[in-house]
């Protein structure tokens, strides 16, 4: 056998220089083993190298992705700040040019008027921002799609998207740069829910006072107090009927007695049966603009009475003219507080009527840990004039969703405590009742809206992701 460069040759049996047949077999076997061994080694090496390359590539990719995610969190946090929250509804093409005048015209709030100079409003627009403590990582905001409008109600010639909110989409590119030839990028595209946050008035632009006592129902900035239904104003007294039921009667015998379930489900106030289409127990309740309005002169919930108001079918509004007494251990609550509203409606300017008396005795539902429920809860309360009496401090309205909108400050009972519920809830109640735009819109066409909104982005879902090689 001779071995030439790059090849070898096996001589035929019987030819000069050829060995025996058995020698040829041994050579073939050795060669075969060597080949198999070599191929095996190469395969193992290739797999190991591939694994290493794959792990290294994954790490690079992860780092670039982390830079993009870092940028996403930073961007959302920045856009959620009051001074920049207008960006959530501003089209990306207008981020550098939107002005305070644009914002006022469209009811968009900002604590700092955006500059009309063409400068990026937040870092990361048009340039890379380094990730702290990582000199080779950075991110850049590539695009933002503001919530879209489906109609033609664009405000200020296409500066803004949907001013109610909706879904925005942020595109951010994370970059890992370890020098020429070693750049890894990761494109992150996420949708974010955008909602209106607490509003502020634009006349003047100040935050609403936190103390309920500072609200003055006569303040011209408030919406117009709703008009009460004109029907009979009933006088109602309710008491426990069983462990799960209450019985209500009309004091003057104008109506047949009615049994309600104490909890959601079954028959709940103001309906006659569990079927809302059966009508209302109080015939003067009327449904107008999708809201059920009931005029009531007085309502008394005797000790231990638990009245649940059904709001799931339609919001319910009680127009109270004289008094509401919630006695010890009793509870008046709506299924959803922003859909159950009590308006205290009395003529004149006196603060003596109507009177809402709450004999605040804690109600302890079977919860662990034990919590206390207020005697009036899930109710939006707005008294044009009137008096709110709390018989004790515990539990105070502050610990419940019960809400005081506007009452006469001077006539509060001694133990009454101002609600410290955030303004947001107060206005959510108003918004639920009236639709913000309708109430706080411009008084006359052409005027700017009288109320302006901050915006917030929250939650996200991955729209698409890419990691170019």
């Amino acid at each position: 056998m001779t071995v030439g460069p790059g090849r070898f040759r096996i001589r035929r049996a019987g030819s000069p220089g050829a060995g025996s047949a058995s020698e040829g077999l041994v050579v073939q076997a050795v060669l075969l083993m060597a080949m198999v061994t070599t191929i095996g080694i190469l395969v193992v090496a290739a797999r190991v190298a591939g694994s290493r390359q794959s792990a290294a590539s994954a790490t690079l990719n992860n780092e670039a992705r982390q830079a993009a995610e870092y940028g996403f969190s930073e961007t959302v946090a920045e856009m959620n700040r009051d001074s920049k929250s207008y960006l959530w509804v501003t089209k990306f093409s207008a981020w550098n040019t939107v002005t305070e005048r644009n914002l006022i015209a469209c009811g968009v709030a900002s604590t700092n008027a955006p500059s009309s100079n063409p400068t990026p409003p937040i870092p990361g627009v048009g340039s890379n921002v380094a990730v702290p403590q990582s000199s080779d990582l950075s991110y850049e905001i590539k695009d933002y799609q503001a919530p879209i409008t489906l109609g033609t109600d664009d405000c200020e010639s296409g500066t803004f998207g949907n001013l109610i909110g909706g879904t925005g989409e942020i595109t951010i590119v994370g970059t890992l740069n370890r020098g020429p030839g070693s750049i890894t990028t990761y494109t992150l595209k996420r949708t974010v829910s955008v909602k209106r946050a607490a509003p502020i008035f634009s006349n003047p632009i100040t935050a609403i006072p936190t103390s309920r006592g500072n609200f003055n129902a006569a303040d011209s900035r408030f919406p117009i107090f709703p008009t009460a239904p004109s029907g009979t104003r009933y006088e109602i007294t309710c008491e426990p009927n069983s462990a799960t039921e209450i019985k209500c009667e009309e004091d003057d015998g104008l109506l047949p007695d009615q049994v309600f379930n104490s909890e959601t489900g079954g028959v709940n106030f103001p309906y006659k049966t569990s079927d809302p289409s059966s009508g209302y127990w109080l015939p003067s309740c009327e449904k107008k603009d999708g809201v059920i309005r009931c005029p009531i002169n007085s309502m008394r919930l005797k000790a231990g009475t638990n009245m649940m108001v059904k709001t799931s079918d339609a919001p319910v509004e009680i127009f109270l003219f004289d008094k509401l007494d919630i006695e010890s251990g009793s509870k008046l609550s709506g299924e959803d507080w922003s859909r159950f509203r009590i308006f205290g409606d009395s003529p004149g300017t006196s603060c003596s009527s109507p009177v809402i008396s709450i004999n605040s005795s804690p109600i302890t539902p079977a919860t662990t840990p034990i919590t206390y429920e207020s005697n009036l809860q899930n109710a939006f309360l707005w008294l044009k004039t009137g008096e709110l009496k709390l018989k004790s401090r515990t539990p105070a309205l502050t610990s419940t969703p019960g809400l005081v909108g506007s009452v006469c400050q001077n006539n509060l009972a001694g133990d009454a405590i101002s609600s410290n519920l955030p303004n947001r809830k107060f206005f959510e109640g108003l918004g639920g009742a009236y639709n913000f735009q309708g109430v706080f819109g411009a008084l006359t066409p052409g005027d700017p809206p009288r109320i302006r909104f901050f915006y917030r982005g929250f939650g996200f879902s991955e729209q698409s992701i890419s990691a170019p090689p």
């Binding site: 190298a49 290493r52 992860n62 935050a207």
Partner: protein
């Protein structure tokens, strides 16, 4: 001849095997960091969640009213923390971390203790890789949690070098009336 081939390729083979082990260790480090980070992200989703779709308890949400199961998430952040400056070390993120540290058991937070602003060790024990630690530092910045991980070559026998910075948003912040 086969022996010759093997002796020629053996060093390269051993080196490739060593590289493979390093890859395994890196993968394990990535997995440990990812798992640890997910716990922070999850807690940032449920903290101060008043109404939501997650099966959690009041003890986890730390809300002032009982947690309710519902379709759309509603949070109830403490307004005093909302009003802290955006770079405050005493804002929503700090409050979340403090609440998270008091969780028992720690369902949504890392079981490894942490103190804000300090590096702590997280043992790596995944896929047969163990025997060294990754370090983690947590900082509160307004309504953001800055989480840094590192693995210094001098701190592990394999001379691995790793670093990662992540920023986790406190979801409840979007329900603040005011965010300066």
């Amino acid at each position: 001849m086969a022996a010759g081939v093997i002796s020629l390729l053996a060093p390269a083979l051993l080196r490739q095997v060593a590289i493979g082990e390093e890859a395994n260790r890196l993968t394990a480090v990535e997995a440990v960091v990812s798992s640890d980070l997910d716990r922070f992200k999850n807690y940032a989703r449920i903290w101060k969640l008043k109404v939501g779709s997650y099966q959690v308890t009041d003890a986890l949400t730390m809300t002032t009213t009982p947690y309710k199961l519902g379709g759309a998430n509603i949070y109830d952040p403490p307004s005093d923390k909302c009003n802290e400056p955006s770079n405050s070390s005493n804002g929503l993120a700090a409050s979340l971390l403090n609440d998270g540290q008091s969780q028992n058991p720690k369902i949504f937070m890392p079981t490894t203790q942490f103190s804000i602003g300090s590096w702590v060790n997280i043992p790596v024990d995944m896929g047969g890789v163990k025997g060294f630690n990754v370090e983690r530092k947590v900082d509160a910045v307004g309504n953001k949690i800055l989480i840094s991980y590192r693995l210094l070559p001098a701190s592990n026998p394999y001379r691995l070098n790793f670093s990662r910075n992540a920023l986790v948003l406190v979801e409840a912040a979007a329900w603040c009336d005011r965010l300066p």
